[in-house]
């Protein structure tokens, strides 16, 4: 059973194979909603808004908030500061890491209740598990940054997480971003495959900020592989990325 909702400012699709009861899907969507309530900088009553307003003492932070902030700090160290949730005006915006973290947790919710075959896709960041309804490996297409109707690469992550960072506009529509704005760079799309979607997401975010050098950072970093597209339509693969490409 599959359903899509707009939550956290993006379409979130949950597909659990061989399940006829919508309860598990509802539980996952409810979880994403709760994450949004806590971490959205666009909600004046969120926990992150309270922190940024100075109205919350560190001792009052929720367990989830402390976990995400710790992950952000660790990622900042891992990426020499290219990942930093502190914005230009000094406030915190953890959305660059919350998405992957939330998907990973939502996948745990599903797995704990039993199903082994499912995927979650939140705004292009994907965690798969098991096989699709035909008993085959889940296949993921990387969208062409120059033409949203096309895909330019097909990968089978085999349970690994997939995240794509980028800056491009699709057709006539501008996505209403619920992630911080980025300066446009010489690369337009970077897809990272990592041990899980959290790993993929945090490094995709950081490596994109590095521009052309980001793919080398991914190559050097153990446990993640990458596929970057530059604005000339030229792509570069890390040495292990080919292993995920569909035969």
């Amino acid at each position: 059973m599959r359903a899509t909702r707009i939550l956290m400012g993006m379409p979130i699709t949950v597909d659990v194979v061989e399940v006829s009861d919508a309860a598990i899907l509802e539980a996952v969507f409810a979880y994403f909603e709760s994450v949004d309530c806590r971490f959205s900088t666009y909600r004046p009553d969120s926990e992150i808004a309270a922190i940024n307003d100075g109205g919350l003492d560190v001792g009052q932070y929720s367990r989830e908030m402390r976990e995400v902030l710790a992950l952000a700090e660790e990622t900042k160290r891992d990426t020499d500061g290219y990942f930093d949730i502190r914005t230009g005006n000094g406030s915190l915006d953890p959305s660059g890491i919350v998405k992957g973290w939330a998907i990973r947790n939502a996948a745990s919710i599903i797995a704990k209740t039993g199903p082994r075959d499912f995927y979650i896709d939140a705004g292009g960041d994907i965690q798969t598990s098991g096989k699709n309804a035909l008993g085959q490996e889940w296949t993921i297409g990387i969208r062409n940054p120059f033409d949203a109707a096309q895909i330019i690469k097909v990968v089978q992550p085999r349970g690994h997480g997939v995240a794509t960072s980028g800056t491009y506009v699709r057709g006539q529509h501008i996505y209403d971003p619920h992630a911080p704005g980025r300066p446009i760079d010489d690369i337009v799309s970077l897809t990272v495959i990592g041990a899980d979607v959290l790993e993929a997401d945090r490094f995709a975010t950081a490596a994109f900020a590095m521009g052309r050098v980001g793919i080398e950072f991914i190559e050097q970093r153990p446990g993640v592989e990458g596929y970057v597209v530059d604005r000339n339509g030229r792509a570069t693969l890390t040495s292990g990325f080919g292993g995920y490409c569909a035969p």
């Binding site: 993921i140 033409d147 057709g171 704005g181 300066p183 052309r212 080398e216 339509g233 040495s239």
Partner: protein, 235 residues
């Protein structure tokens, strides 16, 4: 400096395009005298790929050296390849720059971003003419209007709109995010040569699609606020 110029150009151009698409109800006729059209001007935004970056039918993967030989020159591709419908971009005057090298390969000559502190005073502004094709709806008072400093995540961004004859004739990027405080330590000698390829549309059926959905919101916000001042209303 070339990097900044190019980045400003790209930001201003794509911001102009983005603003064009977004601000239908919030802008007036801003078009100055039309600038000379470039060969690839496309009348209607759509899904046509810019012919100068037509994708090959099959992946042309090749060693880096060979791919260098086939790399499109910057004059051939230009900024028009991004975004896909760059009518405003094509109308912008070319930024003077020397003959460029082929697309950079990864060993051993890639420039690692040099650590660069944000200067105390604003980065020297670059005036970029922006050709807008927005339906007429009111007018702007002449002058220069500076938008608020907005958060572009990797630093602040501030846009100034220049109005002459009631029309938007230029955009200055007064502050550009260049918050690269550190450079990443990469031991390039230890890296194998990474494979390059030209992207190509795939016809395989897939279960899921991974793509990005981010735009430079900060640019839009600051420009929009600047134009709001010029129009005398908040947009």
């Amino acid at each position: 400096m070339k990097k900044i110029t190019l980045s400003l150009f790209v930001i201003a151009a794509s911001g102009a395009y983005v603003w064009n698409q977004w601000g239908q109800g919030s802008a007036s006729d801003l078009v100055g005298p039309p600038l000379p059209p470039a060969p690839q001007v496309q009348g209607t935004p759509g899904r046509e790929t810019n012919p100068s970056v037509a994708l090959p039918r099959a992946i042309a993967s090749s060693p880096v050296a060979a791919s260098l030989a086939n790399a499109p020159t910057r004059e051939q591709v230009k900024v028009a390849s991004f975004p896909p419908n760059p009518a405003p971009v094509d109308a912008l005057p070319p930024t003077p720059r020397p003959a460029v090298a082929p697309a950079p390969h990864l060993l051993p000559m890639v420039d690692v971003p040099i650590p660069r502190l944000r200067p105390a005073n604003a980065i020297r502004a670059k005036v970029t003419r922006a050709a807008m094709t927005v339906a007429s709806k009111g007018s702007y008072a002449d002058g220069s209007y500076t938008g608020p400093e907005t958060d572009a995540y990797y630093g602040p961004m501030r846009i100034q709109a220049i109005i002459q004859g009631g029309k938007l004739v230029g955009i200055k990027v007064l502050e550009y995010p260049s918050d690269r405080r550190t450079s990443v330590a990469i031991n390039r000698q230890a890296l194998p040569m990474l494979r390059d390829e030209v992207i190509a549309a795939q016809s395989a059926r897939v279960d899921i699609i991974s793509g990005a959905t981010l735009t430079s919101r900060a640019f839009i916000e600051s420009l929009d606020a600047a134009l709001g001042q010029a129009a005398g209303t908040s947009l």
